[in-house]
Structures are given as C-alpha cells and as structure tokens.
Symmetry: C2
Subunit: 667 residues, 2 copies
C-alpha cells in the first residue's frame, strides 16, 4: 500500500480509486450489481461532483441546486459513493446496498435516497428526464428570474442508454429546444452486458448528436484536465445542449478485467478485488475504505457551497418582500392544487359533446388559474383539443422560453418521460396528450410516473372502437384495463362532460400519483346536474349510483364507465320494472380505496345479478360482477368503419344491453 | 379538361394526377382520411410501382416479389390507388374506403387487402418492419440461393415516421447490418398533422442517417427523372441501406391548399376538389375517374413481370428436382411447426431449475430442428439464456448474412417490430428476448404481432418481484396480466421446466397468433412426470388439475400460475384434510377457449371457495375466483432486496397461503 498522496492531482486520482474500492466492496457484499460501468465513469463523475456541481451540503432539496441524473442507473454504486462523500449517505448505507428498505437500492430511486434526483434503470429514460428538468429550469429561470432559478442539469449516460430509441427521440427535442444548460456525459466504454457495442452499432455518435443540433465534445474520459475543460466548454454554450463523449475503459483500474463485459452485471471475485486494490494503492484487507483525508479533500468547496445557498435564501426572502408579483407567483407554484378551489366550466345538459371537447374546455379554463401548467401533444393538437392552449400560451423553445406549450412531434415515449423530468424538477404541473392507443408507446413512462409518485397528467383522447374509420391500429381495446393494472396510478374514464371536469379535478389534486385521463372522440349526451346532483362527489369516490329504483332496492346492477354509461342508463330506463341500479365507475382505483361500507352501499353483496358494459377488454370487470355476472365487452381488435356501424355490430347499444338483460335475468 | 396527353412523360404526369383524383374522391366520399401526404408522395410511389417494383400481376403472394411497405399508413389511399392500377383492387373497392369489411380500411391492413405487406398506421413501425423483411430476404437469399430469393424491400416514410424513436433505433440496426436492399423513401413535405415540422425538429436528416451508416440521396420528390436516378443508385448500393429524401410539397397539385396542414387529416372540400381537378386536367364532374389509357400505360411492364415470375416458378421446380438438400430445406421452411413432432429436452425431477434455464435448454434443442429459427436478445443474452444460441448460430450482419442470431443492442421496441417484419416476409420463425418489465417498451409491437396474426415468439425472463435486488424498476407487477388483455395473443407463464417446454411447444405450433413466453430468474422445483403425467396435455388446455383430493371432490380450489404453482401445491399438501384442488393455469387464453364441459370439470360451479395466487396484479383472477374468492397478489411495485427476503414480506410462501386459507375457510 502506498503512502497517502500529497498533491491535489494525486489526491484526485486517489479519491477516484477509493470510490472504485467502495464500488467493488458493495457489489461484492450484495453479491450482485454492476461494477464495470461504475468504474469507467468514476473519473468524470468525481470531477463533476467535487468541482462543478452546485448543491447545498445541508439540504439535498435546495431549490436551485444543479440536477445530476445517473441515467445508467445500474451504476448506482458510483452515485451512492459520491453521495457518501458529500455527506448525504453513510458507509453503513453502502454496506446495505441492495438490501430491503435501505437507502441504497439496486437502482437509484427518487424519494428513497437524498440526492437521487430520478429513479433510473430503465435505460434511456434518465437522459430524457434530465432534459425535462432542463426544460423546467429554463422556463422557471425566465419566469422567476435568474437570481432564483439558474442551474445546470447534468446526466450521465451509457452505451445502452444511447441505443434506446427514447434517448434519440428526446435528444432531437432537446436540440430543437436549445437547452444550453443540459450537459450530458456519455461514458463510451464500448462494452455492454452481452459484449462489445460494435456487435450492435456502427453509429458515429458525434455526427449523430450534431445532426440533432447538439454541441459535441470528445475527450479521454479518464483525463481529469480534459474533463474539466469539457465541462467548462459545455457550460459556456448557451444555445445548444452539450454531449461530452468520454472514451473510457470498462472497469478501468481493475487488475485483470479491464475491458471485459464480465464486469458489467456481476461483482468481481474476492481475488480480483484484492489484486485491484493492490494495483490502485488501496488497503487490500480493508472493506469500505474511506479515509478522512479523502473526505476532507472532496469537501473543500463545502463552505463556498453553503454560502451560495445561504445567499440564495436571503435573496428569495428579499425578492418576496420587494416584489409582490414575484411573491404571488412563488406562492402559486408552491401551493398544491389540492388546496385550491379550481374553477371548471359548465356544460349544457342534453347536448351532445365529446368528452375530449369537455377536456379542451377544462384545459382552457386552467390557463390563467395555473401559470405553471405546461403541456402539449405528440402532434395531435387538433384531435387532442390542445390548439387553444398552444395558441394562448405559446410554444416553448429557444426563442420563447416562457412558452408553456410543447410541440413534441410524433414522439409519445419522449413526451411521457420528459413530463416526468419536469415534474421531478418541481414548480410545474405537466401534461401530455396523444391517442389512447398510443399509450402503448409511452407505457413505461407512465409506470415511471407512478413509481416515482409524480402527479403527471397523461391525457388520452380517441377512446375505444368508437374512433371508427381509422381502424384497429387506432382503436384501443385492452388499453383502459391495462392502465388500471399499473400500481399507484389513477385511470379515469369519464362518462360525460361533467364527469370529465370532475375527473380532471381529481387528477389535478393528486400530490403523489399520476393520472390517466381518457376521453372520447365521439359526442356523448351531457347529463343534467339537476337530475344527477352528485356527479363531482361520486367521481371523487371512483364509482357511484347514478340511477336507482325508487325504493333504493335494486335487483339488478348495471355497471359502466365512460361512453357506455349513457347506454346503461338508457337500458335501465327501457326496463322500468326490472329494478335496475346503474353504477357509473369512472375510476376503479378510487372506488377500491373507499371503505367497505361505501362499497357495500353501491354494490350490495346480496345483489348478484350484475352486468358490466365497457367497450374494451372485459376481464377486469369480473372483480365487480363475479361468477354469476356478465360483461358486455370486446375481445377483438375492432375494424375500420363508421362508429355508428360498429356499435351495432359489436353490441354497444341500448337495445343490445336490454336484450342481454332479458335473456339473462328477465325471461 | 385537357385532351389526353401523348408522350410517356406526359402520361406519367397525367397518371399521377389521376391518382390524386382517386385520393381526393375516396377521402371525400368516406368523409375522413388523409389526402395531403398521399398527394405529396404520389410521384415517387407511382414511378416505383410502374417502373421498378417487381411483382406478379396474377399473384400478390409470389414468394420473390419486392416488398413495399407504406409506413405512413394514413396515406392508405395512395397505396390503394396503386393496387387498383396494378389490378389487385377495383374502383368499387376504392368507393368502399373506410367502410365495414371492405378491402380498403382506413389504414392498410395485412391479410385484408391483396398487395398490402404490413399493417401500418402506428408511425415508425412500418419502417422497422420493412427492415425486418430485408433481414429475412438477406438471410434467405444466402440460404436458398439468389435464384429463389432476391428482391428489394421498399418503404415509404413520412415526417412523423422519422420522428418516432423506434424508427431511429431501427435505422441504427439496419445500418449496422448493412441491408443494401432496403430502400427507404422519405417524403419530406415538412408538414404534419398539427403544423410545420420545424416546430418540433431542427434535425439534419441526411447527416443523421449517414451517422447511422446509411447511404443518403436528396432529390426533388416531384421530379420523375430524379426519382428514377435515385432508385437506381439505391439499388446499386449493396453494403448500406439507402434513404432517399424527397423534398416535396404537402398536397402537391391542390388548387389552394398546397403546403397546408389542413390537408393532413381531413378530406378536401367539394369546391377545392373541383378546382384541383380543373388544375390537374381531370374531369371535374367525374368521381373515381380512371381511364383505360392510364391503366394501359401503367401496365406496360405486366408481360415482363408475368414472365419473370413464371421463370422463377420453373427455376424453383427445377432446383427442387436437381438439388435434394435445397428441396428438403424448402420443404422444412414451408412446413408449419404445428405439423411437426418437436423434440424437447428432459429435466431432472426434484431439482431446482429456473424456467429461463429450461427455456435456454429448449431453445438450444431447436437449433438443428429448425434451420429457419432466428432470434436474439436486447443485450441481455446471458440473462435471457440465449448465449449458446448466439455462439452456435452466429450473429447476423453484413459479414455473416447466414447468422441466425441478432445482437439488437438495448432496443426492445425495434426488436419487437423487426420480428414482425421478419414474420411478415415468411420463411423464418423469429424470436426476441428481454426482461419482462421491458415488455412495456415494445408493447405496441406485441399488439401489432397479434393484430397481424403473426406467430412471433416474444420471450421474457426475469418475471415478478422474484427478480430481487435490481428493484422495482426491474420487477414486473402488472405486466403478465396486461399482456393477457391483448386480443389474439397467448400469454404463457409456466410453473416449472416441464411446463416451460410444453408452453414453448404451444407457442411454436401457433400459426396465426403470437405468444409471450414468461420465465423466472429464480430456480423452481422440477415436477416429476411420474406423479404429474398430464403436464403437456394440461398446458395445451391452458389450465388443468395438478393435484386433487383422492375422491376428486374438492371443497377448495387453489389456482396459480408460474412460480406460484409449487407454492399452491405445498399449501394443499400442508392441509391434507382440507380437500384442496390445485389448478395450474399457465395460459388463461387457452383455458377460456376450452369447451364449457372441460372448464366445468376443472372449476366446478358449485365450488366457490377459490383462491388464486400470483406474484402480480390480482384483478384479472377474479374472473375465476368470483366475489366469494380471494386473490393473493401484488398491488405495489416491489423493492430492491434479495428475493428470499421479499417473498416473506409479500406473502409468497407456503406458510402464508396456508394461513390465508385457514383464516378464510378453515377456522
């Protein structure tokens, strides 16, 4: 073992080696993990954290901190090591790597670990979320002022990250938007889980990102001085995001496994670790070695960082005092919608209105109520009814950083992930819209909204086969129920304009979970609040009694959601003697959360004649209708034809429901 | 109206105008559709079909035809017009555009229309499927000989297609693979549904595709001579796929709407159509105008084309006669697996074997049995157990066109779509593998396998929270049930090695639907066929009785799939007096297809004490357990920890099932 080095340069090299020791020890102790990439990225990440990253040593949630996202989430031990050096984690935490309820899960998880800005692991998404954070920073910098919001967003990506299509689609948008404060570092170690990248790629990454309007800098990713210069150049560029390509060696520093894919997804052997520690000048007999002088070296900037955040707090207070409109804005973006009384439009009972149009009316009404509502469509603005929002709030971009609307292009998955990044940054309520059938394209983004407890609004119009002529590729069948299965997500399928506003209200008021809002292309009859006074309250409970026999003692229960609710009402009214209750069920997740008494009051155990109607996959409805019930649903892909034709063929008419009721229970 | 033109050049221009007339008339009559892009792409598509595309006028399914994929599926009327000119469709078909059960649905649908090679509409996927077809052609050209397979694959893409990330990820692979016979035409009209592309894009497409190892040619997309030259250059290039960028004008030829996004997704007004027909020299008072001289002009090549396919048939017969090994190969790739007795490996009862390892053993056993089995993994080869397959069959690529294994990189969605393209081409059985949680990334590709009736094998390992340390981003919860909801798809979740082979057998023998095969990371006890002799037959029926009370009269039914089956068996054995039947349910879709008598024999209506156990979303199981039953499932995302810890926390143990049975029915 060498003696402790002396010069700053030597201390830097030594600290990187100490970090590599922690990476090797923790993955070994956990008996799983990914040391190779973490070791190849260590030089860059160390220099960034020690010398450039702006944060508050005492407050990981400081508003104006630089964001750092480890898109290559499998390299988590690199991030945890740096968070230990900066004091957010401890050696004990590192020893609990990948253990139940520790602060150091296998992949970084937002909300579980201080200093972890995003949950990463599903490749490509960390990159896209970082861009979303940079969008939020850009908007808020112009909205709140540079003195309040003014930070960089850094993201570290791997070979696999940049292979993921979502990264390329997002990169195109970030170039278009000119996100000058987005700085991506690509750890190009050319080795991925299954072998060398050259088996799957001949891409020229520099040329590729330049074609997407990025600045690209290529360096030796192990050369500290080159890293410093590159970061400075990246920060100096204001009109383009920067990709720093660091050419590196997989498992850099290891005794015998440099460049081997064996280090990608498995810990090193104890022998290799000892040999590597010897090579790196670390005590081979000591695990989780983190000497005080290394910590002190790493924390040289801490007084400066603390001063900076202290000054920021003073400036915030001063600005609030001197600038009433700023104070009001600051207050507005920090007040959860759940604490506000949102104004929603009224609708004309008895008219026919597509719920997507009700959504549009609701959205337009929010423009002034929520100055921090931002969103857009994946090139379906007129269909999604977001044109007025776009025209009123302006398109976000290089020349219009205060624009609140996004033209995402036909890029659903980037859209969904970018919304997550915006939400993670804080200060903005993001929404994104496309056709329901294309929720498939962004499904894992919706899951990641839910997993990260982000109140993102995922809007989908063009529900079910009622889409009509566009045909089966555009007619969602399984989508509504598939979305219902994602944990911690509200799937809201309103049955008319009033329910649409009520569902939007529910979604806006969520603080720790995303919502999926599903709207029709076709017109639906607008209910009369005089006849149905409890729509808002009922929607809030997920499911409620919409129509009931006069004595409140139903013999049959008809359940429906969305565009089938009015059909169920029609069937009940066509059979006045059958004692039918109609239950509208816009949100199963909310209904299932109600207490047993409420659920029993809506669906009494003794009433077993239950029929559900939904223009989609029937299976999930059996949890309400049971083995004695029936479901009128769809188990096929639909067809291209006018919806008026299809609804008769597929049986989504009052007549067909009546016929099924008669055949089943009213013979 | 002008008189009929005379020169060939004039006839070309006139025919393009006639096509535009058909496009305008059909979208107008249907009162929906997308004329603008179809009109901007018409010059290229016309020249391609009339002068270059190789096909058999009498047989749309001729083996060695060139493939043409309209990735911009919304431009369907352009394709239908050309298919009318080449005799596959009629004017009557065009008049039924977008009507129920017509041959001219809103978006092109494979199997519904002669000459339509792929179902398109979900943007980006047509491009990727075309590449899959080119992969199949390349492999089969080398396998069967140039005299038998030797064609080009053409694909027409729009602005929106190339914005879709899946297109970029696929393009990277096609460049890597050097698909010289893939010729993409990009109709760069710079207008998309919601407005000009410049609002969402600053990309330099030429540079972008060059960075992905493509040849790129830029032309005026309305210049017929430039189009001819570009196609010739593209065909001359053998080592790189070619992108021809055609700079065009949206709705080219229209009287007042050239360049307007209003023509993207809506028919033109009757007035605009009249004015446009006048401008284009078409009879303004005639709808669906298609004069004989235009048809004759278009079909000048038909005798040559018929000769070509006739000669091909003669060569095929001659080659079969003279070359026994070719004849055998030709026979092999044309014999459905359902007609074959596939050999599967044996497994050692009582051992512990991850079903992913059983899958690997099965896959390896197919290498020699199916010389046309091709597949790979999205960079998870060791985890997915495809390493032996890769090492034995070789990696497909420019230098190894007979390689049967693919290194897809971390690109799940491109993988899934490319598999669809390979299956559409015919002659190859394709499979692709990744982690189950990332089925999200390729979900719409799986849907498109099902919608197109393609027997693609989608393989997913690392099922459920039992993945362990990688944590919630890698632990599928809702995925199994979400896949079950996709119509025309088998979701197979085997419970041990024997069931794995049986599920694989079921999947191989499908002819008109895809399968999802789900395997565990963790070891599972291997059943003893001596004790359980009906595994193969039972799996074939989707669900079957695995254990039963000696009198065959159960009082309680325990249902389970996959890794929970052995837990259910353990619980039943722990409660010998409770008269518990255990039903293994590897495939709900197959079980639901069985006749009522079989289903009743497995799940008798009178037995209402039913409990299901699955380490995933519980909801769908209520269709079997009803309102009186129970489900032990998961409604949350899991956590990073060793699986042995998690299974106790989450209750997936024999003890917990026993406890729940006791509490519920055995007090």
């Amino acid at each position: 073992m060498s003696t402790t080095p002396k010069t700053g340069q030597e201390m830097d090299a030594y600290t990187v080696n100490v970090i590599k020791g922690l990476i090797m020890d923790a993955t070994r102790k956990a008996n799983s993990g990914h040391p190779g990439g973490a070791m190849s990225s260590a030089d860059y990440a160390y220099i960034l954290f020690k010398e450039f990253l702006s944060f508050d040593p005492d407050n990981p949630n400081w508003w104006n901190r630089d964001r750092f996202v480890l898109s290559a989430g499998h390299e988590s031990m690199l991030l945890y090591s740096l968070l230990t050096l900066n004091g957010y984690l401890s050696i004990k935490d590192l020893m609990e790597f990948r253990q139940f309820e520790s602060k150091t899960p296998g992949h970084p998880e937002h909300d579980q670990t201080p200093g972890v800005e995003a949950t990463t692991g599903p490749l490509g998404q960390g990159f896209a979320m970082a861009g979303g954070m940079a969008v939020a920073e850009t908007f808020l910098r112009h909205k709140l002022g540079q003195d309040i919001t003014n930070h960089y967003t850094y993201v570290l990506v791997s070979d696999g990250d940049l292979q993921e299509p979502v990264a390329l689609g997002s990169a195109a948008l970030f170039g278009q938007w000119g996100l000058g404060r987005l700085i991506a570092y690509y750890d190009s170690n050319k080795i991925q889980l299954a072998g060398p990248t050259k088996r799957a790629d001949c891409s020229d990454t520099k040329k590729l990102f330049e074609s997407l309007c990025w600045q690209v800098i290529e360096i030796d990713g192990h050369d500290h001085e080159a890293i410093r210069t590159a970061i400075r150049e990246a920060r100096a560029e204001t009109d383009r995001p920067t990709l720093i390509i660091g050419h590196t060696t997989m498992a850099k520093g290891s005794a015998t496994l440099e460049g081997s894919e064996k280090t990608h997804g498995s810990p090193m052997s104890p022998e290799e670790i000892v040999a590597t520690k010897n090579k790196l000048g670390l005590p081979a007999d000591e695990s989780f070695f983190l000497p005080e002088d290394v910590i002190a070296h790493f924390r040289q900037r801490f007084p400066l960082l603390s001063d900076r955040s202290g000054q920021w707090s003073e400036e915030l207070a001063a600005k609030q005092a001197r600038d009433a409109s700023f104070a009001a804005l600051w207050e507005a973006i920090h007040t959860p919608a759940s604490k506000r009384n949102i104004q929603w439009p009224d609708f004309e009972p008895g008219t026919n209105l597509a719920t997507r149009k009700a959504f549009g009316a609701c959205l337009n009404g929010l423009i002034d109520q929520f100055p921090n509502l931002m969103g857009g469509s994946a090139d379906l603005d007129p269909s999604n009814q977001t044109v007025h929002f776009r025209e009123t709030t302006g398109i976000f971009g290089k020349d219009n950083p205060l624009g609140r609307s996004f033209s995402f292009g036909v890029r659903e998955f980037p859209m969904g992930v970018i919304l997550n990044g915006i939400a993670l940054h804080g200060g903005i309520i993001p929404f994104g819209a496309t056709f329901l059938v294309f929720s498939d394209y962004e499904r894992n983004a919706i899951r990641m909204s839910a997993l990260q407890n982000l109140p993102v609004l995922h809007v989908f119009t063009h529900d079910s086969f009622f889409v009509g002529e566009d045909g089966p590729t555009h007619q969602p069948v399984e989508h509504v129920s598939s979305l219902r299965l994602i944990p911690n997500l509200l799937t809201l399928r309103p049955g008319d304009a009033w329910e649409s506003a009520a569902c939007f209200d529910v979604a806006m008021k969520q603080e720790t979970r995303p919502s999926v809002l599903i709207f029709t292309r076709q017109g639906l009859p607008v209910m009369d609040p005089a006849t149905h006074p409890h729509i808002r309250e009922g929607v809030g409970k997920g499911g409620y009694i919409l129509e009931d026999p006069t004595d409140g003692k139903p013999e049959i229960i008809l359940l429906a959601s969305g565009s089938e609710v009015h059909l169920a009402v029609g069937a009940a009214r066509a059979l006045p003697d059958a004692k039918i209750r109609v239950v509208s069920m816009p949100c199963m997740e909310l209904f299932d959360e109600q207490d047993a008494a409420y659920r029993e009051s809506v669906l009494p155990k003794t009433v077993r004649k239950r029929m559900a109607v939904e223009a989609g996959s029937p299976d999930i409805w059996y949890k309400y209708v049971g083995l004695d019930g029936e479901v009128i649903g769809m188990n096929h892909f639909g067809a291209s034809a006018p919806a008026e034709v299809l609804k008769k063929v597929y049986g989504f008419t009052v007549d067909h429901i009546v016929e099924r009721l008669r055949e089943t229970w009213l013979k």
